[in-house]
Symmetry: D2
């Protein structure tokens, strides 16, 4: 086996939900005669999704959604499969990155699958000729969906897009457990520092932030949370974490992880008060949460290691992991989300793609939720794969839940 195939084989064994969907796709061929364009992190788990879609009859064209997350051996292995075309290259230039996106679009996809809305953005801004033939799209990230909703609010989203991120399954498993475990692993394996006893600052207490906070705390960290939403802030407080402004946290933190999906979270206002040796990383989608540009311009010296840029400034050293990009993917040892988490998230993708392929042409432009039953069906498939049986409501219970005249 070549190294790409070895990686894909490894991943496939821990993706039972996608396996069971693939079996059905092989029988039912929901994508027969259809082209799917994808811009996702090209690595082993994604490859299993790509295989699944191709098994359902699709011609798949795929490129990366982040310059640093492509695994070239996986890309090569994908290109050897029938009906699959991969254009991603690790550490490509910005020009190459966007050229690859255009190559995917050149295939005239009926369905797009995005992780950060690169395809959708490009179609709406530079490739509007494609709008006619597109049935619909799927978007993976919170950040992408946030943008899509803004577009839709302005009436500028011209085809239906399924918000794959916005499901209980994605929030509970991908955000909480996936981002939580993989970001910590990436930090630990890149820096070799101990988590126990450290002040770990988590910016943002959404699902990603909470997952990170709980797991870091489970390893022995003292977690500090920063938030802008008072209810989430209070939730973090009640969950046992210190809550404060980033101005206060900057001086206390040993390790920082941003998860807000917003820009300018840790900036030149905070660097001067930080401890020497502070480690900064980002687990949100875009590399806008840490003001790395400022450090690049103003640092007295920079020392670059694998996945770590160490900026000396005012006699102190501040370390930035993965240039402020998604830490769990972009550090050299980063593996991205754990396999089982992507099994669930990609199962939502696979079923969403099937859904939009079937009915997308009947829907007006806009952001659509994943149908609830679909999300629930995936949970059931996963429970079955785990060998777990759960209770079902009895008839009496259904009656009880829908009645209102049963007293105290």
């Amino acid at each position: 086996m070549n190294s790409g195939d070895k990686k894909i084989t490894w991943a496939r064994q821990y993706m039972p939900v996608l396996s069971s969907i693939r079996e059905r796709f092989e029988r039912e061929q929901p994508f027969a005669g259809m082209t799917i364009g994808m811009a996702l992190h090209v690595e082993a788990k994604t490859a299993v999704l790509v295989e699944t879609l191709a098994a359902g009859g699709a011609e798949v064209h795929i490129t990366g959604c982040n310059p640093l997350s492509t695994q070239d051996d996986v890309a090569a292995a994908l290109n050897e499969r029938p009906n699959i075309h991969c254009y991603a290259k690790r550490a490509c230039s910005v020009e190459e990155y966007y050229a690859a996106i255009d190559r995917v679009l050149d295939a005239k996809p009926a369905v797009t699958i995005d992780d950060g809305m690169d395809l959708i953005h490009r179609i709406h801004t530079g490739r509007r000729e494609l709008l006619e033939s597109i049935v619909g799209g799927c978007e993976e990230t919170t950040t992408g969906i946030h943008r899509l909703r803004a577009m839709a609010n302005e009436g500028k989203l011209e085809f239906p897009v399924i918000a794959v991120n916005d499901t209980p399954m994605k929030r509970f498993f991908d955000n909480v457990h996936g981002t939580g475990e993989s970001s910590l692993t990436a930090i630990m394996t890149t820096t070799n520092v101990l988590i126990a006893g450290k002040h770990l600052v988590v910016a943002g207490y959404g699902y990603c932030g909470r997952g990170l906070a709980e797991k870091a705390s489970g390893l022995g960290a003292r977690v500090i949370v920063t938030e802008v939403d008072p209810r989430r802030a209070l939730q973090a407080h009640m969950d046992g974490f210190a809550v404060m402004t980033m101005d206060e946290a900057a001086a206390l933190g040993d390790i920082f992880v941003t998860t807000t999906g917003n820009a300018g979270i840790i900036t030149h206002r905070h660097f001067p008060t930080m401890k020497s040796g502070a480690i900064l990383s980002n687990a949100g989608h875009f590399n806008v949460e840490l003001e790395v540009d400022w450090l690049e311009e103003h640092a007295d010296a920079v020392e670059r290691r694998d996945g770590i840029d160490s900026y000396t400034i005012g006699g102190k050293t501040i370390h930035v992991l993965a240039e402020g990009r998604l830490v769990n993917l972009a550090v050299p040892k980063g593996m991205g989300h754990p396999i089982e988490v992507m099994d669930l998230s990609f199962a939502v993708q696979a079923l969403s793609a099937e859904y939009i392929a079937k009915i997308g042409s009947t829907l007006p432009g806009g952001v659509y939720d994943v149908p609830n039953e679909m999300d629930e069906r995936i949970a059931s498939l996963k429970l079955a794969a785990l060998g777990i049986t759960i209770d079902t409501l009895t008839e009496e219970q259904v009656t009880y839940m829908t009645s209102w005249d049963i007293g105290t």
Copy 2:
């Protein structure tokens, strides 16, 4: 100080949010000339809410919402306050219980505040003459709201009711932390058993169930979760808990806590497979989750202790706490929810009552959510009381969050 006043004074010091609302109510008199009818657990924390409403100009008539949760000394202390009338009596008969509800209604309340929809149910079924003068109501529990929605769906809810339970604040704090801590405390203080190492079965993995599971696990229990919803079941699994059917869990559990809000969760089907010494309790609203009636009828012998009924059946002994009623309130040593949690929940009540008093007459019958800003305002009041400052979005961040054309 008499014992009721001592208790109220004790509670008041840990209710800073209600304190700050009371100060405003005293100035603004939002309930001037208005009667409020209440059916809540009559104990110290509720008394602080009652005081707050009365401080806002209301004439308050209150009774209990559970025969076992009334604290008579608190009821007496309330009755000594001007403009407050309390009819609750601990361990009253069913007739007395409903008579007290009628006495509250005799005062012709403009606003009702319920914990289990006793007032609303009574008005709609036996006191329909009051419908005319009622402006609106507030309902505290998940279970009550569930019923109200069923009523509304059938077009039978004739005035607007605020679903006080259905807010992030209530779910995060009352359900997760309040039910979690107080139910465990009630079990521990009633039985004196060790939690560490025990198989603790939690039926239902909603907010209450998850809070219980996490806190029991934090004390060293091995938690088993039963669920009917596949996504919640999977969430429990990923959170590290064993998930199975109640049929399987029955044989393994040392301690059982139901939190489903549904009926017939632990029944005669499960009793025969249980270990001798198993402890059964309910943290859901109504005493329908455990089939206590069946045990009462079929047990070979019953031994009654304070808060514990021990049923001998087939050579084994099964213990039921608080007759299957809300364990955190109904055991003799039960204190109900922790004070700080009720400060938040009752702050929602106080502001909801103010809101419905102001605009209820303009709304059609139905269940209404607590306005989001109101819920958020309470979080801010609590953070201020804790001395916690949080970040606010910068202008650039607001722009970033609402724009969609900023690329990778």
Copy 3:
């Protein structure tokens, strides 16, 4: 059943280790013709130990070891049993307390069982005529053993005493889990405050302190640890807790629990900097850790509730639980250690009493460790009661562990 018997029956069902020892004692009668004097907390669990010793042929005379921990109905139930004499009375005066100790000693015990060395202290200081007939003793607490070692070092301990506290079983289970759970339960059930989000200060990070810190943290508290030992302090830090001096902690804490076994932990130096509403409690043996006397003398006002004395001083209110005595026993709702924990601790007591009865007369005065095999045997009895089977070393493994010439 009378209420004392109900309590004893309740406890007995969760004490399987003592049950199996009792069965053997009934057959073997190790204490035939012997008198045992005891000064322990007289409540249900202790009664099961007393029964076990009496079942082994002993004449047992028992009194309390703390004025507030006696349960009078249990004392009454014990007195109705043959060969058992109980002199304990709840809330007795100091004179009555010591008179009861003398009544136990009047029975000329061959073996003493202490929890705080009251019997041994009294014998050595005022009843030296008994020294001749005493075979040996057992001491339950860390504090008592500490004192006994000091006595032994000065050559003043005149008979052999088994340090029942100083076993892995006692430290792991009684200290960590027993003190941890029961102290938190006592605090929660007495004050009704929420633990989640609170700053909980634990003084001392020995086994008791660590158990408390971990369990409080598991409920959502933010734990602060104070220590005098640098290694324990660092251990607490690495376990994720804030570590600081009590001077610093005093200003931050919402709830304080002392577990040091030492005196003067929280004093008039700390009171002025505390928050109003701070709650102080002690989980160490003696009521010397909190300087309650100073508050009694200097407070502007005192308000007394069940188990809580609230001191107003300088406009602030500081609450002391159980007068600074052992919080898990001495608050009105306190149940003492969980039953299963006392099953293990009292199993050590029962086997230690058997051991000292058999060979005590051959040993010189001094403090003796519980034989390791005895402690281990109790663990095996408990595992058997739990239905847990563990591995045993194979012959090859024994060889491997004892050899040194097997290379890399």
Copy 4:
């Protein structure tokens, strides 16, 4: 900077205790004119220890203690420093491995520092001519010390060796936190599987096992513990973990980690009952805990990935990480213990080396504990580096702790 120096510089910034010791060594030159022989994992953190010893005047000769743990760039960087000679090479053959050990011994070290007693074993079995000039040694691991004690018991250990492992500092920090975090990180980064929801089997519940169990549980794993010691087994049970035999655990586990220090923990008896996809790893010292040889001989097929050997047997696949060697060091992405943990452990090494250099010649052969004050001093140095101040006993408290006649 070359890559070895970059790594050493990175490590040095998180090793404040060794820094402060180095400053003193530079002044005091405790090893002036002395040769130190070392066999440790040759990577960045060890290099900081080597620098520290050389700064104290020693001529240091060092090789590896595990064929897979050497980092060649660090070895090269060490060789460029004055007075330091490094013979380690990654992936060297067994012959090269032992030849390098002999090269270290050729330098006639006065003091040996071992991690697995390779030097000491070689001296006693094949290089006995060196016994004369050796002052003493230090041994890092539990396993090595276990063997040394066996040697000493047989009267065959001919010089004094400090048991560096046997200190509270080493057990609390290196074993619990170091092994715990780094083993999990190594497993996660090598396999990319999710920990949450997994059955993770920990063999052995000593300090390493407990650290692993707690941290894995903190990430969401369901932990199963196997043990041979009944008290540790019961401790694991009370800490909330499932306890069973390996025969039972084999069928349930998704991930296995051995930490026993013994041989034959997971063997051909267990492989047939395992799930397909089970992941096996070892966090104990030697590669004897997993019966990898048997799999190599009997598997139907083997697929080798970086750090993972996948054995197909009877239709199932079983994955072994790092050939059953120390997983945190021997997987390709393994970083060994976290830096801060090695700062403490190597501080014990540095002070132990200084101690044995000073007084080793006066001691008979045998295993010696690290002096308690030395261990405590390191804790104080670390607390100082963290900026943490702790309490000190007052005179009254010292008196209280040493007196025995202060009553209840």
